[in-house]
Symmetry: C2
Subunit: 199 residues, 2 copies
């Protein structure tokens, strides 16, 4: 036998890691149409949080697809599996005391509910990055709307695939009305509040 001390092993739990980091390990799930501003907000947010000693991990749909989920496409069932794995990874980070900023179109209520269920409702905040389809299509930062209109991209959310607006988001950011700075500020204040270990 692999002999030795038989005292019970106590692997450090989420709470203990949170105390070490002085923050709550929770996930902020940014949902919205392509071009609504999710990733832009998330990147500046991560920077601002870091400048305030809050350690966050940005988990972005595009990166998850190119690195982990190389086997998945854009059908609703593949989108669901994509979100299932991403949420599971988010939970791993939360369990380690890390704040997660998720950027996923996550177009349906079912998909977002699945993410919430996996991460745990007590650790999950849904943030709706709200912007009209018309404005998102005008912005078209990656030229994807243009391709979708031409039929060159299939299952494109807003054009050839549905987007169900969140009904009970914890926070709504209207990027048609707010500037980038104002949007980030609003999310930042919310995150600081929700990650405060003493609150």
């Amino acid at each position: 036998m692999f002999h030795g001390n038989t005292k019970k092993i106590v692997v450090p739990n989420k709470r203990e890691k949170e105390i070490l980091l002085n923050q709550k390990g929770v996930s902020f799930w940014l949902t919205g149409l392509p071009g609504s501003g999710k990733t832009t907000i998330a990147k500046i947010l991560e920077e601002e949080l870091f400048n305030n000693n809050i350690l966050a991990k940005l988990i972005d749909g595009d990166i998850i697809r190119s690195e982990i989920n190389t086997d998945l496409g854009y059908s609703i069932s593949d989108r669901t599996e994509n979100i299932r794995r991403a949420a599971t990874i988010s939970k791993m980070f939360n369990d380690c005391g890390i704040v997660v900023i998720n950027c996923f179109i996550s177009p349906t209520q079912n998909i977002r509910s699945l993410a919430k269920e996996i991460i745990g409702s007590e650790n999950f905040y849904e943030i709706f990055i709200n912007c009209s389809l018309e404005t998102c299509e005008q912005r078209d930062p990656k030229g994807m709307y243009k391709k979708a209109r031409k039929g060159e991209v299939k299952n494109f959310t807003g054009i050839s695939s549905i987007y169900e607006k969140p009904q009970k988001a914890d926070l709504i950011i209207d990027t048609e009305q707010l500037s980038i700075e104002e949007s980030v500020k609003k999310v930042f204040d919310f995150v600081v509040l929700k990650t405060n270990l003493k609150a």
Copy 2:
């Protein structure tokens, strides 16, 4: 347009997060036969590291399989995909400054090379948890060797699937000779050295 300040977004990088945490975000890859002692060592190690303010994430083969990789079996190609995803997740943690302790049988040189390539050779340390097949089979902590001998479990490493010993491990822990405490102490000292930001 989503208007606002156009200054370049500077997402905090690995080094900056390491400085915040005062540790290097590197991975320690424990490989060895089933029953060699990988998970036992890893759990106590995580606890000891935490007691020394080193934040680590234990990523265990069994947990990854039951939570993320529910679609994968035990063929060599499924094992490879299992490791590919696990290594990618490890890299995500390392990029966030977190130390990762990996417990994976990871039976072939190819599989371990893949993990090293994904994580990055500068952030990867291979630790061979060495124990003879005979002793592992005697320990049989989960009763899996018994099942494998009866043919009830297929592709079982050591019995019906190969295990190639590492040729150039960064550290070898001989759990046939060392006690649990001695094994953990040896890995702990190695980890403290390799995660020291000032070294």
